[in-house]
Amino acid sequence: MTDVMADPAAIPTTALWRSGGARTLNIGRAVLGKVVSAVIVLFIVATVAFLLVRISGDPLALLLPPDATQEQADQLAAQLGLNQPLLLQYLHYLGGLLHGDLGRSIFFDQPVVSLIGERLPATALLAVTAIVLSLVISLPAGILASVHRGRLTDTVISGIVLIGQSTPAFWIGIVFILLFAVRLRVLPAAGYGSAAHLVLPAVTLAIYSIAVVARVLRTSLADELSADYIRTATAKGLSRGQVVLGHGLRNASLPVVTVVGLELGSLLGGAILTEQVFSWPGIGRLTVEAISNRDFALVQGAVLFFALVFVVVNLLVDLSYTLLDPRVRLGR
């Protein structure tokens, strides 16, 4: 979300080498470095989550129902180790995380891990469909716009992209419900279970990333297409399709992958909103419910889960550079 509007295209490809020293390292150590910094980020997120619960007041008051007795409070304090010093609690909490223990939801009276596990398939289905949909639309759109740069096709596509990027996805979802469920009655407005239920949420979630990917691909592919090696490839008799898809696209894909990784944060936020709009029973909706139920263990667990997904995907993105760009592999 941070840089939603801050022109993803402006991120130089050298952002790949953010940790300046990595350039000179060999690939094994580079991978290790990425993994270590991913672990550090997760550690910081876990610490922030721990501190947020603590500074928001007495965790017992948050974790217990309002009508709890003193006896129950003492019992829970002992059970959660809250009668121990803060540092010890913190270490205990981190130890639990390492064993995949995210605590217990007060509202559902179930382990947080199993609650998240239950809702994971719905969110995964929505996210994967949206990502596939987004690539199927944004890649051809970006390629068309850059090949026909400056012409009508480009203008139309760029205009749509600009509007798509400025429109909050959850409002598009509401308009979809209004059009397709309330007026035309062709698709369900909410719920889960059939392919028809998936259409509107997936399209809604896809719209934002379609705009971002198409925009970045257009800019980076247009840059590549004016490079010398493209002229060479054209001169030696390759077809336009071979030149664009075989030569240009591979080089243009790097900034796209960078931006997709960075935009995953807004995709996660978008998933929370989309699930809310369409009553989709995924982790995003679970999180919002947890916040309104003041179910803090669950909120903490969900935040950690989203952070884990974000960090792992960005780690994969970082590592994929070595496949896409030989210069990174060679350490130049």
């Binding site: 941070t2 400056g150 409002w171 903490q300």
Partner: protein
């Protein structure tokens, strides 16, 4: 080329829309036909109509949608500007220090930027609001302290080249302190690019605030905001489309015109930037 022309052509309408929104925000009490919170259950859910006063209809409590829209502009713009001011200040400060000092300060600060980028801001906003409760200032501060990275990166890279300029070297040679050099010689030179980022930051902050308010986690419900209007409107979508459609349109037009204006400003500041 057509794109540039089109963008140029769109800059003026965008500016006009923006001016209208600003006008609404500033003059809300004068422009709004009704009290945005005045409930009138007799006229609840009445559709948009030219006569009868409720131009854009009323919501489920009989409150005038247009008036709430006009007051909502205040919150949106205020949040957007406040967030941009906070993140811009933090980002410029970090960027100048990192770029001018270099060395370990640079490494630590830029690593901090990496960590910040690796942690989705909406997640932090959700967590903070969940644990600390919601409120206008909670939203502003959370978004303010999480949006500084692009400011810091741009500032740092400009300062890296600025600090080798003759006037900076000479200022240092005659004994001007680092704080003064940063304030007098470096900051003014990066302001133009910071303002461009700020424009885009305002737009994204407005959208995120509306998203949080839509989830009921943003600005408290007694203040009319576009996001909470959308949330109310979704419940009555089957019968009363206008409650959800108009705040969304306002949101989209505002974000769109800020984005277009921001792009135009950047084109004017830096003609080489390829769009």
């Amino acid at each position: 080329m057509i794109n540039r022309v089109l963008r140029g052509r769109m800059a003026m309408p965008a500016l006009i829309v923006l001016a209208l929104v600003v006008l609404c925000a500033v003059l809300a009490p004068l422009l709004a036909p009704f009290d945005p919170n005045a409930q009138d259950l007799l006229t609840r859910l009445s559709p948009p109509q030219w006569t009868g006063g409720h131009l854009l209809g009323t919501d489920n409590l009989g409150r005038d949608v247009l008036s709430r829209l006009i007051y909502g502009a205040r919150i949106s713009l205020f949040v957007g500007l406040a967030v941009a001011l906070i993140s811009g200040t933090i980002g410029a400060l970090i960027g100048i220090v990192a770029g001018y000092r270099g060395g370990w300060a640079d490494r630590v600060l830029m690593r901090l930027a990496d960590v910040q980028l690796a942690f989705p801001a909406i997640l932090l906003a959700l967590a903070v609001v969940a644990f600390l409760g919601n409120g206008l200032w909670v939203v502003i501060i959370v978004l303010g302290v999480t949006n500084w990275v692009s400011y810091a990166r741009v500032t740092r890279s400009s300062v890296l080249s600025l600090r080798e300029r003759d006037y900076v070297l000479e200022a240092r040679a005659i004994g001007v302190g680092p704080a003064t050099i940063m304030r007098r010689h470096l900051l003014p030179n990066v302001l133009a690019s910071l303002i461009t980022i700020a424009a885009l930051n305002v737009a994204s902050a407005i959208v995120v605030e509306s998203a949080l308010s839509f989830l009921g986690l943003g600005v408290p419900a007694d203040i009319p905001t576009w996001g909470s209007m959308l949330a109310d409107g979704q419940l009555y979508l089957g019968t009363s489309w206008w409650i959800a459609v108009f705040p969304g349109l306002a949101l989209m037009l505002t974000a769109l015109s800020i984005n277009i204006t921001g792009d135009a400003v950047r084109d004017a500041v830096d003609p080489r930037a390829y769009r």
